[in-house]
């Protein structure tokens, strides 16, 4: 059983580059402003979510372990 993730997109920084939507289309989609939103935090393997966060050109995505609160991205 994979762990539950808490994924947030900071809309002050999201520029709609679509990297996350391309890499994890089961998790992220664009809203009407063409900014990313999370519609299913369990919609892709953890590795794909972390790659999406790393590929965000403005580092707008934050990924945490939903149970422990441990920050998985960005890394300290």
């Amino acid at each position: 059983m994979s762990r539950l993730l808490k994924i947030t997109v900071d809309h002050r920084y999201c520029v709609g580059s679509a990297q996350c939507v391309n890499l994890a289309p089961g998790v992220f989609r664009h809203n009407e402003n063409v900014q990313s939103e999370v519609f299913d935090p369990a919609g892709a393997p953890e590795a794909a979510v972390l790659k999406a966060a790393r590929f965000c050109p403005t580092s707008a995505i934050r990924v945490e372990d939903a149970n422990t609160g441990e920050v998985l991205f960005p890394q300290a």
């Binding site: 002050r12 520029v15 709609g16 590929f55 050109p57 403005t58």
Partner: protein
């Protein structure tokens, strides 16, 4: 002197794009420029909407636009223009989906914020070395001593080519700078630079395909092996890296230094705590006088906006320099305020073509402004004359003399 209000290359527009495009932003936000036959978009919200709707506004500007170049070029250079078009059509920035998605994915790993941040120590050392050379002189032209050589050093290293080749690459980069300039003879130096760049890179691509290294040419060579890039696309996009990273960084460093020296109160804030303030300060520098003033799209469909009808095939130029000063988004937009935060400037664009090198540009800017503030806190502007290149796209100073210590 031109009196046509649509002359985008008029000396007053080149000298002060903020006045000219700011006026359009407040009076005619979707302006038809009859002289250059294109729409001009100046408001922040319009610009973001346009750039994020890549399905409505194509990036294949060179590929699909059959109109003659503006401003006009020398008649005998028509053949060169076609060659330049063939070259530029293969640039990543000219691609639409689906080609853009796969091509960008192939190079994106190399340019993630995490990957680019790891270049900071190298950038810091390069800045220190360049400033060591000029420090005893007490004066320098920021462009020649710092802003032009720094990005060439970094890109040379990224390309994985020997440092002895720096001068050659800088000479080629200087010729590539004629893209989107106004001189009627510009196709000649531009095509010379393109040809020489292709010749320089070609054998290196072959080597990297055989024996990959940890550099950008190897990334492209691998993408060619995987069928994502053709050989021509590999060569063109290596040249794009040199050009795109050179011109824009030069302008960031010169425009930022100028803005800081023209606002002594803000310069004092930076020198009081360079390491603590430079990140937020660099964002304001990017907003206030961006390296790229404007860029272009071509309508892929009929679109209505502000009660006007954009037709499929129309050219649209969007002015980041005007959107960054939109009072609907930024309080006191003409004020240079190093503590401005949040600062959602559009100097790197937005949407799927958001600048690939944004983090690297930020790192370079931060390291330069920090080093200047730490080493030369009494820096001053050593000229009364400022001249800009006649470009619609780039905000490029021709020189920026400064002095410090006993340099006067």
């Amino acid at each position: 002197m031109s009196h046509d209000p649509d002359d985008l290359f008029a000396p007053e527009v080149i000298a002060d794009p903020y006045g000219y495009f700011g006026h359009l932003r407040e009076t005619d936000p979707l302006h038809w420029n009859a002289r250059s036959e294109l729409w001009i978009v100046t408001r922040y919200e319009d610009l973001v909407w346009l750039v994020r709707h890549h399905e409505l506004f194509s990036s294949a500007v060179i590929k699909s636009d059959q109109r003659p170049p503006y401003p006009p070029i020398d008649a005998e250079d028509r053949g060169l223009f076609d060659e330049v078009r063939h070259f530029r059509s293969d640039q990543l920035v000219e691609q639409d989906r689906p080609a853009h998605t796969t091509m960008r994915e192939a190079v994106h790993e190399y340019f993630t914020p995490t990957a680019m941040e790891s270049w900071r120590p190298f950038v810091r050392a390069a800045v220190a070395e360049l400033l060591d050379e000029v420090a005893p002189k007490g004066r320098m032209d920021v462009l020649q001593a710092l802003a032009a050589p720094l990005p060439v050093r970094i890109i040379t290293h990224m390309m994985g080519v020997p440092s002895e080749d720096r001068d050659h690459l800088r000479a080629l980069a200087d010729k590539l700078l004629y893209i989107n300039r106004g001189e009627s003879y510009r196709m000649k130096p531009l095509m010379e630079g393109i040809r020489a760049m292709m010749e320089y890179v070609e054998p290196k691509v072959g080597q990297r395909a055989e024996k990959p290294e940890n550099d950008f040419i190897s990334v492209l060579a691998a993408a060619e092996k995987n069928g994502v890039f053709t050989r021509h696309q590999v060569l063109v996009n290596t040249a794009l890296l040199l050009f795109a990273g050179h011109e824009t960084t030069m302008n960031l460093i010169c425009n930022g230094t100028l803005a800081l020296l023209c606002h002594p109160d803000q310069w004092a804030r930076l020198t009081a705590d360079p390491a603590g303030t430079v990140r937020v300060a660099t964002e304001e520098i990017l907003r206030y006088d961006p390296p790229v003033k404007s860029t272009q799209r071509i309508a892929a469909a009929d679109v209505e906006r502000h009660g006007k009808q954009i037709r499929k095939g129309d050219r649209i130029r969007w002015i980041m320099a005007a959107a960054n000063r939109d009072p609907r988004i930024f309080e006191n937009p003409d004020r240079f305020d190093l503590s401005r935060s949040p600062n959602p400037h559009v100097s790197f664009g937005s949407g799927i073509h958001y600048c690939l090198g944004a983090t690297l540009a930020r790192v370079e800017g931060q390291e330069v402004f920090r080093a200047l503030a730490e080493r030369f806190p009494d820096l001053w502007l050593d000229t009364d004359v400022l001249e800009y290149q006649p470009s619609i796209q780039f905000r490029s100073l021709k020189s920026l003399p400064v002095a410090w210590g006993h340099g006067a």
